[in-house]
Structure formats: structure tokens, C-alpha cells
């Protein structure tokens, strides 16, 4: 009589595990629109980081021998009324957009996670007060509030940065372009943290009541381990999706502020400001207003596609 076969514990029986993120990435690149969004986005990031170093021109240098030129081999998008190479200006605008987009997203997500988690954990009147604050901020016309805060922050931040430069001797702080950046960061971050806070609060409240967290607690898993292994990965998906989708609207808001003349000031480069600068010559040189506008739209559109793709990749249930 043959002996009963022993269960083979060797590796060949083990199911190959896939990590959450590897799985999500595989789902992301399977979607054509998400892949398109991702490629455009990566191109944009590459251009923003390395573009200015690769360009033979300086985005601020005025060439008085090459004013208002049409598109040519030397200047693919022509030059503007000050003789600056327009393609280089567009790339500098990409750097501004990336810079503002990344920093404001970090600020918004940071504030949102902190405030949302505080509300969820402390509960009671603090929760009520925080959520009521979110509701109140959201009842403002988003952009109007950003405009107002931007105008308000300008003087105090300029004073603060000039003082900082004097105290510390860091002369680079005392630079109008950096001051504009900080003002825009502040205005957009203050307007936009609300939805993230609400999302995080909802996520934490609903996750804490779920069976898998309860069973983890019941089997004696330590709280930090629950937070890192179970709470965070599950709460992070929706936050990443919201942040990516928010990235597009932040880039849009920066351009809108600069379009009104209160965001990034000349000679700093912003797509919105370029449209304003060249709106006077739209009949003669329409490409000077069309190119920044179309570039801006493509980036916003790529960010939205990427956000949708991430949503499908990180929340597979939402597709049904």
C-alpha cells in the first residue's frame, strides 16, 4: 500500500504574489487612454525639467534682431514682440506649471490628509467644526476666492520674504518670480484642501468599520501595522486619484490667475500670462495665443485621463 502523499510545501505550489501597486500599474497601462495620458504627462515632466537646458535659447533673453518672427527652423513657434524664442517660453511655462502643480498638490494633500484624519479620529464638535469649515469654503466660487486670496497674500508674503532675505542673507529668496510662486502656492492650496479632507475623513471612518480591519484588530495586529498595512493602502488609492485629477485643475487655476495678471508676473513664464501678453496681436500672429492655450489644454486633458486611468486601476470595484 502506498503511503498517503505528503503535501508538498515547495515553492512550486505557492501562488506568485503581486503587490497592490504592481497590480495597479498593470491595469493602468492596459487602458489605452490612461497610457496616452501617462505618455503625454511624462513628456511634459521631461520637458519641464530638462527642456530649458536642452534649448539653445534663454527664455528671458530678448533678441532685438529677431522680433516678431513667424515659425521657422530656428524658431519652431516663432518669436514674440521682445524677440524671445516662443518654444523656449512654452517650455519655461511647462516648468512653472509643473512646479505649481506639484507643490500645490503636495500642500493640498498634506493639509487635507491632516485635517481629514483629525476630524475622523477626534470626532465630536471638532469634526463638526472642521467639516463646516470645508462646506463654507466650498460654497465660495472656487476661482473668485483664489483670486481674492492671491491679491491679499501678495503684500504680506512679499514683506515676509524680503525680511527673510535680510535676516538670513539668502538673497535668492528676494526674487519677484519666487515671491509670485509662493503667493500662487498659498492661494491655491488654501482654496483646494477641502475636498481631500472630506475624502480622507470619509475613507477613514468607513475603513475603520470594515471587517478586515476589525479582524486584524481581533487577531492582535499592532495598531501601527494596521495603519501601514491596511488603512493606508486602502485609503491612499482614492487620495491619489483625487490628487491626480486635482493636478489638472491646479495647472488650470495657475494659468487663469496669471491670465488675469495676478499669478506669475512677467518676465516669469506662464501659459496664461502668454495668452494675455499676446492677445493684442491675435489677428497678426494668432499662433502666439493659440500655442500656449492648446498646450495648456493638452496637459490638463492628459492629467484628467491619467486620473481616470488611476481610478480604474486603484479602485477596480468602481468600474462595475
Amino acid at each position: 500500500m502506498e503511503p498517503t502523499p505528503q503535501f508538498d510545501h515547495s515553492e512550486k505550489w505557492e501562488i506568485k504574489t503581486r503587490s497592490l501597486w504592481g497590480d495597479a500599474f498593470r491595469r493602468l497601462v492596459r487602458s489605452k487612454t490612461a497610457l496616452l495620458g501617462l505618455s503625454i504627462f511624462l513628456l511634459f515632466v521631461f520637458a519641464a525639467i530638462f527642456g530649458l537646458a536642452l534649448s539653445p535659447y534663454d527664455y528671458l533673453r530678448q533678441d532685438l534682431y529677431a522680433l516678431e518672427q513667424g515659425p521657422s527652423l530656428a524658431h519652431p513657434f516663432g518669436t514674440d514682440e521682445l524677440g524671445r524664442d516662443f518654444l523656449t517660453r512654452i517650455i519655461a511655462g511647462a516648468r512653472t506649471a509643473l512646479f505649481v502643480g506639484v507643490f500645490v498638490t503636495i500642500l493640498q494633500v498634506g493639509c487635507g490628509v491632516l485635517i481629514g484624519a483629525t476630524a475622523a479620529y477626534l470626532g465630536g464638535w471638532i469634526d463638526t467644526l472642521l467639516m463646516w469649515t470645508v462646506d463654507t469654503i466650498l460654497s465660495f466660487p472656487h476661482f473668485l476666492l483664489a483670486v481674492f486670496i492671491n491679491a491679499t497674500l501678495e503684500n504680506p508674503i512679499e514683506d515676509a520674504m524680503v525680511t527673510l532675505a535680510e535676516r538670513t542673507g539668502w538673497q535668492w529668496v528676494n526674487n519677484t518670480v519666487y515671491i509670485d510662486y509662493v503667493v500662487v502656492f498659498g492661494a491655491l492650496a488654501m482654496v483646494g484642501w477641502g475636498p481631500i479632507a472630506r475624502l480622507v475623513r470619509g475613507q477613514i471612518l468607513s475603513l475603520r468599520a470594515q471587517d478586515f480591519i476589525l479582524s486584524a484588530e481581533a487577531t492582535g495586529v499592532q495598531t501601527p501595522r494596521i495603519v501601514v498595512r491596511h488603512l493606508l493602502p486602502n485609503a491612499l488609492g482614492p487620495v491619489i486619484v483625487a490628487a491626480t485629477a486635482g493636478f489638472g485643475s491646479i495647472v488650470l487655476a495657475e494659468s487663469s490667475l496669471s491670465f488675469l495678471g495676478i499669478g506669475i508676473q512677467p518676465p516669469g513664464a506662464s501659459w496664461g500670462a502668454m495668452i494675455t501678453e499676446n492677445l493684442g496681436v491675435w489677428r497678426e500672429r494668432p499662433h502666439l495665443v493659440a500655442v500656449p492655450g492648446i498646450t495648456l489644454s493638452i496637459i490638463v486633458f492628459a492629467a484628467n485621463f491619467l486620473g481616470d486611468g488611476l481610478n480604474d486601476a486603484l479602485n477596480p470595484q468602481s468600474r462595475h
Binding site: 472656487h142 488675469l260 492677445l279
Partner: protein
């Protein structure tokens, strides 16, 4: 229902006060000194400065000044412009709001008359090339802001096609000049309305009562309009607040391009001059318009969809 209305209106009051408080705080700590601006050439005269500051009541504590402002605002008095003491902020807003409202009305007509039919067509022709075309336009178009659309529309309609020649200025609802800004302002919300209509219709299309209506021999269009559209349109209504917010934001960006003397132009002008009393007034009014729009949506919702009740 009455109870719901009363409760809804009661929530309105603290929110309005909070909005006024936030706006006032920003206006209070943000800008340069209004007293020095009023003094003009004598700005360095310390004695006159203190006297004027006292006269304007600006040396009192913040809470007292805020209470005064809130009380005045509730009575419709938003103070006067920093630069022109004869320019009442309330009056300036009352003069410009009708212009923006007219423009918003023209845009709303375009949104409703084009957006809903297109959404209906896309849903009825589900999974045909018409549907795909309309959906791709929605996906691509909705990320284009008005200040990008404006030059693109100008280049295409004026330079390339020569359809319109007069685009700057304002001559009221019945003039050629309103066409371009109204179309541009309508573009984004129109795509949103189209998408929502398409979604709503697709959801309703498979319901039993639609099958019944078809089975008893009603023609396709009667079913589509009387039975499908009526039920599919409720989700549109919940998004009315968003559309109103979009129209306000759009008017800020658009009106100065076309030289329209509306609410948006007033905001941009006072922004360039850092005229804070006007900026504060317009921010409070802008937020109030959106709150009222949301309130109206909540009330109308009950009448359109009897399944919703607020008890």
C-alpha cells in the same frame, strides 16, 4: 416641506456670516493701508493720518469693525471704492450684474437648447459613430478653459471663416456682439449637460415603463421626449449650482477680453487697482449667488421628482 425650507434657510445664515467673516478678514489684513490711499499727496502727514483713521473708524478693534460691516452689508451697503469716494460698491455691482446676467441667460439658452438634444441623440444612437464623436468631443473639450477658447473661437470664426466681424463691446441681448462670448461661455457647461443627459437617458431607456410606452405603440420621439427625457433630466438639476459657479468664473475671465461692462469686468478692474471694498463686495455677492442657486435647486428638486421628500 415647510419645515425643510425653514431649516435650509436657517443653515444659510451662519454660512453667509462665515463667508462675510472670511472675506472681511482677508480684506482687513491683506491690502495696503486704505487711509494712506485716501490721503493722497499728504500720505506722510501723521496727524492727518490719525485723524482720518479715527474718522473712518479704522482705529477700533477688529470685531467692532466687522460687526459694523456685516450690519451694513445686510442692509445692502457695501461701502465705497477706495479711490473714488463717490462710487458706491453696491451701486457698481447693481449696474454690472444685469449685464452679466444677460450674458449668462444667453449662454444658458445655448446650453439647454444644444446640450440636451445632443445628449439625447448620443444616447438614442448609442454605440454608433455619432455617439462616439459626441463623447470624444466631450472628453477633449471639457478641459479647455474659456480664456483658451476665446482666442481659438476668434481665430476660427473671425480670421478663417469670416463669419462674425464685430466682437468687442456690449449692446445687449439682441445684437451680433453677444454671439461669440455667449457661445464660449456656454461651451464647457454644454458638454457637461450633454454628458449628463446621455447618461441619464441611457439609464432610463431600459426601464419597464419605457418598454410599456413603446409596446403600446407610441412613436419613438414621443417616447423619447415625454417619457425618457423627463425622467433623465433630474440629475441635470443637481448640477445647476456647478453651472452657475462656472458662469461666474467664466465671466471673470471672459468679459475683459470682449470689453463687456459686467460683473466679471468689475472684479478684474478692482483687482488690478487693488480696490478692496469692491473685491470684498463682489466675493460676498458671488458666493451668495451660488448659495441661492443651490437652495433653488433643492426646492425645485422636490417638485420635479416627487419620490424625493425631505421629512
Amino acid at each position: 416641506m415647510t419645515l425643510y425650507l425653514v431649516r435650509r434657510l436657517l443653515v444659510f445664515i451662519p454660512t453667509f456670516m462665515a463667508i462675510t467673516l472670511i472675506t472681511y478678514t482677508l480684506g482687513f489684513y491683506g491690502p495696503g493701508d486704505p487711509v494712506r490711499i485716501r490721503l493722497g499727496e499728504n500720505w506722510h502727514d501723521e496727524e492727518a493720518y490719525l485723524a482720518l483713521k479715527h474718522e473712518l473708524g479704522l482705529d477700533r478693534p477688529f470685531t467692532e469693525q466687522f460687526a459694523d460691516y456685516l450690519w451694513a452689508v445686510l442692509q445692502g451697503d457695501f461701502g465705497e471704492s477706495i479711490y473714488r469716494s463717490d462710487l458706491q460698491v453696491g451701486e457698481a455691482m447693481a449696474n454690472t450684474l444685469p449685464v452679466s446676467a444677460t450674458l449668462a441667460f444667453a449662454s444658458s439658452l445655448v446650453i439647454i437648447l444644444v446640450g440636451i438634444p445632443l445628449g439625447l441623440i448620443a444616447a438614442l444612437k448609442h454605440n454608433t459613430w455619432i455617439d462616439y464623436l459626441l463623447v470624444s468631443i466631450t472628453v477633449l473639450g471639457s478641459s479647455i478653459p474659456v480664456f483658451v477658447l476665446a482666442p481659438i473661437f476668434m481665430i476660427v470664426l473671425v480670421l478663417k471663416l469670416n463669419l462674425i466681424d464685430k466682437i468687442y463691446g456690449w449692446e445687449g441681448l439682441f445684437s451680433q456682439k453677444i454671439i461669440m462670448p455667449a457661445l464660449i461661455l456656454a461651451f464647457g457647461p454644454l458638454l457637461g449637460v450633454m454628458r449628463l443627459t446621455r447618461q441619464g437617458v441611457l439609464e432610463v431607456l431600459n426601464q419597464d415603463y419605457v418598454r410599456t410606452a413603446r409596446a403600446k405603440g407610441l412613436s419613438g420621439w414621443v417616447v423619447a421626449i415625454r417619457h425618457v427625457l423627463r425622467n433623465a433630466i433630474t440629475p441635470l438639476l443637481t448640477n445647476m449650482g456647478l453651472v452657475v459657479a462656472f458662469l461666474i468664473t467664466g465671466s471673470i475671465l471672459l468679459e475683459s477680453i470682449f470689453g463687456i461692462p459686467g460683473f466679471g469686468s468689475l472684479i478684474v478692474r478692482s483687482l488690478r487697482q487693488r480696490d478692496y471694498p469692491i473685491l470684498m463686495g463682489t466675493t460676498i455677492i458671488g458666493a451668495s449667488i451660488i448659495m441661492v442657486a443651490n437652495l433653488i435647486v433643492d426646492i425645485v428638486y422636490v417638485y420635479i421628482d416627487p419620490r424625493v421628500s425631505y421629512n
